[in-house]
């Protein structure tokens, strides 16, 4: 009975257009934001900030990026990690080569580099569809990483191809403690997530979804598939690029091109599928799930079997359980955690009466 929209009427289309039309949701969101902006920095340990929350946030951003492309515009991509790499190396080079470059601008420029590269690799999507396109985006994945390793200019001629991020300094404040890094990451991710939400609920998002659901019909009602697809590639790569730059600047500090390998691309793909294809919320849930689950399993195995299990077997069991859980979740809800959440809300709305 607590979760009801009864009695909440919307008097204008503007009200109906709100991101969270139900009052309880708005309160919930405010509470969540307060927790993450205020309570977490106060109480979370360094381990939680550095090893869990920051990566979850960054991966969420990358997942939003991929979700825009795959979930909303329907173009399956396996190259997200490469676009992250472009963002990271792009931002690094802007910071390195232009004196006094403000971090945020470098971040955006890094994202824009990724967007450009994304558009270039998105061009084939005009003709190629489905899994064919997915495999084609692998070309981007391998080529970009190869180029970053091969051409030392990108890594400022470091002998091993590794770059180490410059210190982040915004308006004289050095972001060098876990809390500050966390807050910076959080703010950027929240703002970009909001923008993404806006995009997908506006005409742009509808164009993407139309192309995704049936591109012939979309063209017949006047949507140019080329523009829709390329804009999705651009926006998606931008998000991945920014995530990549954050990955280098607020998370790892030093990155190598191979760190942005196919495994990472897949990981991001897992996030959106487990979280929910075509859902911004799902990107967050998926990222949290994919980052936390292996850690949880690792810790869990150590505590229950503490030394009684051959070492190799323990690690393999983690793998088995991880794979099994992915399958299990897909079977329970093929549309991902976000859908599970909406279904739960639907049930709650009806509760305590069935149907």
């Amino acid at each position: 009975m607590l979760y009801r929209e009864a009695g909440q009427f919307k008097a204008s289309y503007k009200e109906d257009q709100q991101i969270l039309p139900i009052r309880q949701d708005r309160i919930g969101m405010a509470v969540i934001l307060a927790i993450f902006f205020l309570a977490v920095p106060m109480f979370a340990s360094e381990y939680w900030l550095q090893a869990i929350l920051i990566p979850v946030l960054i991966f969420s951003l990358a997942a939003i990026g991929l979700n825009i492309l795959t979930g909303y515009a329907g173009q399956l991509s396996l190259g997200s990690a490469a676009f992250m790499a472009v963002g990271a190396f792009g931002a690094y080079n802007f910071m390195l080569r232009i004196d006094g470059m403000p971090f945020i601008v470098a971040l955006i420029l890094g994202g824009l580099c990724a967007a450009l590269v994304g558009v270039a690799f998105g061009l084939p999507s005009l003709r190629i569809k489905g899994f064919y396109l997915a495999v084609a985006t692998l070309a981007a994945q391998f080529f970009i990483v190869w180029a970053l390793v091969k051409f030392s200019w990108f890594s400022n001629y470091s002998s091993s191809g590794v770059i180490s991020a410059q210190e982040v300094n915004i308006l004289g404040v050095a972001f060098n403690t876990p809390i500050l890094k966390y807050l910076l990451t959080l703010s950027i991710v929240v703002v970009l997530a909001l923008l993404a939400k806006n995009l997908v609920r506006s005409a742009t998002g509808r164009r993407w979804m139309a192309v995704r659901d049936m591109d012939v019909a979309a063209e017949v009602i006047g949507i140019r598939p080329m523009r829709a697809k390329l804009s999705a590639f651009a926006v998606s790569s931008f998000y991945c690029g920014v995530a990549g730059a954050l990955y280098a600047y607020t998370y790892l500090g030093t990155v190598e091109p191979e760190g942005f390998n196919l495994d990472l691309s897949f990981k991001i793909l897992f996030m959106i599928i487990i979280g929910g294809v075509g859902s911004i919320l799902g990107s967050f849930l998926g990222a949290a799930f994919i980052v936390l689950l292996p850690i949880f399993l690792n810790v869990f195995m150590h505590t229950i079997f503490a030394g009684n299990l051959p070492a190799g077997l323990g690690s393999n069991l983690e793998l088995i359980v991880f794979g099994g859980l992915i399958i299990f979740f897909l079977i329970v809800e093929p549309h991902g955690l976000a859908r599970l959440w909406t279904l739960a809300k639907d049930k709650l709305r009806l509760w305590p009466f069935p149907h």
Partner: protein
């Protein structure tokens, strides 16, 4: 014969009977709210009703195709020839002789028309010659398919696909066919033809039919018995001839208001019908 369906339904175990079936999609959307109906052996039963009444859902619950759409039969039972079939796989059902022709064609787009038809005979283990016979029979019913036999089904016209879907079901040599909107998208001549085929199969080969149909006029002409559904419930049932003369049915399903057929041009749009239930 049709009276038997009403009067004596309880005494002899009916051929196909659905008792108080409830269906829920996605764990929350309640679509069928306790539907019961019977089909006698060798009869043609029409299931009528507006869009969204739950006709297709009813048929799918019989043929057990709901699972694929995350639908569930949560209550009630379905019996065919006195045996519970609600837990059987569609394959078992087809082997027992119950086959469904789904709404919206669902041909195998990349297979040719002929391959489509041949897959229809999957459950039968028959000789090449028999297979050829069956194929010829379908071509006899639908000559148009013969001329398009080697085209990929995905590229054929809507009507051709419809014929293909029906033909494919016939290839399984079923005893009972669940036909979902067979007339949809077919030229009037073909509609007549298809119903003639239905009648033919029914009288010559004792095939029973349960058909969901919007074209009430034709459906009631060929059916023995009819059910009318609204909002997931059966709201009316009776011999086809009785239904055809029922005033309400006449008005709402046949477009015949008292004085005879009204031109589509003259119908007022704000006229809302009364509801039987719900």
């Amino acid at each position: 014969m049709t009276n038997a369906a009403t009067a004596n339904a309880a005494s002899a175990a009916p051929y196909l009977s659905i008792n108080n079936v409830e269906v829920i999609y996605d764990h929350v959307i309640l679509v069928l709210k306790g539907v019961s109906l019977q089909v006698e052996k060798g009869s043609i039963v029409a299931l009528l009703g507006a869009n969204g009444a739950g006709k297709s859902t009813t048929l799918k619950s019989i043929s057990n195709l709901l699972g694929a759409e995350r639908g569930d039969v949560t209550k009630g039972s379905i019996e065919f020839k006195g045996q519970r079939v609600d837990q059987m796989t569609p394959n078992d059902l087809v082997k027992r002789g119950v086959i469904q022709v789904m709404e919206g064609r669902h041909c195998f787009g990349h297979l040719t028309i002929e391959e489509n038809l041949l897959t229809g005979a999957y459950t039968r283990s028959i000789s090449r010659a028999e297979l050829k016979d069956s194929l010829e029979k379908v071509y006899h019913y639908f000559p148009r398919l013969k001329t398009r036999r080697s085209s990929q089904a995905g590229y054929t016209s809507g009507g051709e696909q419809q014929m293909c879907a029906i033909g494919r079901a016939l290839m399984a040599k079923p005893e009972m066919i669940l036909l979902d909107e067979p007339s949809m998208g077919l030229a009037p001549q073909i509609v007549e033809e298809i119903f003639e085929i239905v009648k033919d199969l029914n009288s010559k080969e004792q095939v029973s039919f349960l058909l969901a149909e919007q074209n009430t006029m034709v459906a009631l002409r060929y059916a023995d018995f009819g059910y009318i559904m609204e909002n997931g419930r059966i709201v009316m049932e009776g011999a086809a001839s009785e239904l055809a003369t029922n005033e309400d049915v006449k008005e709402f399903y046949l477009g015949l208001a008292g004085e005879g057929r009204k031109s589509f041009r003259d119908v007022k749009h704000y006229r809302r019908r009364k509801r039987w239930l719900s």
